[in-house]
């Protein structure tokens, strides 16, 4: 037997890879190595999903997000509603009341005007429903072939609540971890549409504006330490970010994390782990242990939090690491992925 061994590592990153946009470790690396050193300042360096700034005595939350989803229309939403919900949610999970959005469009030459109208109408409707106004915008058109039909960037401003300080660095040992509902629906809905998967039951994206759910939580208690919406990279990435930024460990219970049958089935089929699949209408929160029950109860009365549950606890052990107690009573690590999840061969 000849000792065949392994290939040399590819350690150079001389080009941008798709994985740099996955929300996983490659994205974190891009931030760390390219953007943060160039832009460094105390507001940015907090690495929250929204910047907290003071302007003329008012505390504002400020955030931006670009949407490049393919397909543009999917079960449960489209790029327009998603662009509103995504930015509203980034404000909401910072504890801010969303007020105003901007909308910038990059359109591809030849794109159907009818489809654009549908997208814009959907945006307008989502904004009305969320009680925010789209007050400024921009449009650029690129040559056919150099864009994906429509790309949208939305930027949002919200008003921070008094007496509340949420931060991904705020989790402390003993805190409870809450999840607002079942995971993976958005990612699977998109994948099913994109790949033409014939699933027995169609999964709908969970895309929704979460700010009124956040209102309900904060009315129940202000003892919320950290809140995030687990979008790309899924719940696993969100919990890893909180663990890393807070310097704590997180232990979740597999049985408490809800995954609907359709999503589980699709994940089985494709070899994906629902913990890493994107959501667009869910939030994860770290709260003081004594407030957890009241917050979950309040969430349960809200349409978007009916399945809210305590899924785990924050611990001083294994700082920076998320672990999961399986249904078998064993424990495993829930790591952050390098890039996107890749469907397996068999």
């Amino acid at each position: 037997m000849i000792p065949l061994v392994c290939p040399a590592p590819l350690t150079t990153r001389d080009t941008v890879l798709l994985g740099h946009g996955s929300g996983g470790k490659l994205s974190a690396e891009l931030l760390r190595d390219v953007f943060l050193p160039a832009f460094a300042n105390p507001v940015l360096d907090r690495l929250e999903d929204q910047a907290a700034i003071s302007v003329g005595g008012a505390r504002l939350a400020f955030t931006t997000d670009s949407f490049v989803v393919k397909p543009l229309f999917f079960r449960g939403g489209d790029i327009g509603s998603l662009a509103v919900h995504g930015t509203v949610n980034d404000l909401a999970v910072g504890g801010a009341r969303p007020l105003y959005l901007s909308a910038a469009f990059i359109l591809e030459e030849g794109f159907a005007m009818e489809a654009l109208r549908r997208i814009v109408e959907s945006m307008a409707q989502a904004a009305r429903a969320a009680g925010v106004q789209i007050v400024t915008g921009d449009t650029k058109v690129v040559e056919r072939g150099s864009g994906g039909g429509v790309y949208i960037t939305t930027t949002g401003i919200g008003l921070m609540r008094e007496g509340l300080s949420l931060s991904a660095a705020g989790a402390r040992p003993g805190d409870a971890v809450i999840l607002s509902g079942s995971i993976g629906e958005h990612g699977i809905a998109i994948l099913a549409e994109r790949e033409g998967l014939q699933l027995e039951t169609e999964v709908r994206s969970d895309s929704a504006a979460l700010h009124t759910l956040v209102d309900a939580m904060l009315e129940a208690s202000l003892e919320v330490r950290a809140m995030r919406d687990p979008t790309r990279g899924g719940l696993a990435s969100t919990l890893n970010e909180i663990a890393a930024q807070s310097g704590v460990g997180i232990e979740i219970d597999e049985r408490a994390v809800r995954v609907c049958d359709e999503v589980r089935g699709a994940c089985e089929l494709l070899g994906l782990d629902p913990l890493y699949v994107a959501n667009e209408g869910k939030l994860a929160a770290v709260v003081a242990p004594e407030a957890a029950e009241a917050i979950v109860e309040a969430m349960g009365r809200h349409r978007l939090g009916r399945d809210a549950a305590i899924i785990g606890t924050v611990t001083g052990a294994h700082p920076g690491m998320v672990t999961m107690r399986t249904a078998f009573g064993t424990t495993r690590i829930v790591d952050m992925l390098a890039g996107d999840q890749l469907p397996r061969i068999c």
Partner: protein, 367 residues
Amino acid sequence: MKYIDEYRDAAVAGSIAQAIRARVSRPWVLMEICGGQTHSIMRYGLDELLPPEIELVHGPGCPVCVAPLEIIDKALDIAARPEVIFVSYGDMLRVPGSRTDLFRVKAAGGDVRIAYSPMDALKLARANPSRKVVFFGIGFETTAPANAMAVWQAKREGLRNFSMLAAHVLVPPAMRAILGSPACRVQGLIAPGHVCAVMGWREYEDLAREFRLPVVIGGFEPVDLLEAIRMLVAQLEEGRAEVENQYVRSVTREGNQAAQRIMEQVFEVTDQKWRGIGRIPASGYRIRPELAEFDAERIFGTEQITAEEPRECISALVLQGLKKPADCAAFGARCTPEFPLGAPMVSSEGVCAAYYAYRRRAPEGAA
């Protein structure tokens, strides 16, 4: 979820683990062959449920991991050509070749696409008659029937712009090589359920006889794997060396004969290089000469591409079950899924990746 939940029942798993503890009287070393089984063991922490007498070592059954550098280099060479649409299962894209990987070829302008089935590649070929569509046909006996079917279908339709870069590997010859090594400690085998669903288990009867060792064909869910281990322990404790089938819901002795027939029509058995093991006689499939017009190797003239495998990591030993990932100094430090030194760290089914993802270090306070 129908059909799966009963195989993930914690109470059932617990009672099988209890039966194993009650039965075992001395140490036994068992090997699960398939990467999917390794992944399940790590994901559900099944080894934590076993008594200390049972040691699980992990076999070569991750198709991505055993794909030799050479075939990756051939894939990269073909994928970079402007006339080609290169279609692959997702987890091959991150596997590094000698100089680059498919993700980087894609970033540099290569038309590389992820597919869930070779039939997707046929669709692309029909839709893009001016392009050459090449499917990366890799994997064990499990993926071979669908790949064979794609070539067969292309022939039937006269699709001239479809071809396959085929490098299938076969489990029994590799197991013979591993079990025949003087360093081998394996005393019982969990055979790969999906491979046996296609091929049946006659070949494993030969292995059991030749090496006087018990073989149980196992499934992939926690209850399947624990039950297979229980059956192996019973055989070992009783001094038997037979082939038994735990995965009765999918596997028969003869296997799927329709699948075997289509494979025979399209592929022929050939010597194959395995990363970590070396060249093994009659251990792979290649496209038959009479179907050469669908053989990407011949169309693109990549037969001459060879690659020297650098000697950096211990994957050779890991893939034969002689070492555990944590025995490697680079594991988790210089070798991670972002910067894999070796193939077992690249695929999610690779044993190093499974250890890294689920078991990097025992969390404090964990059971």
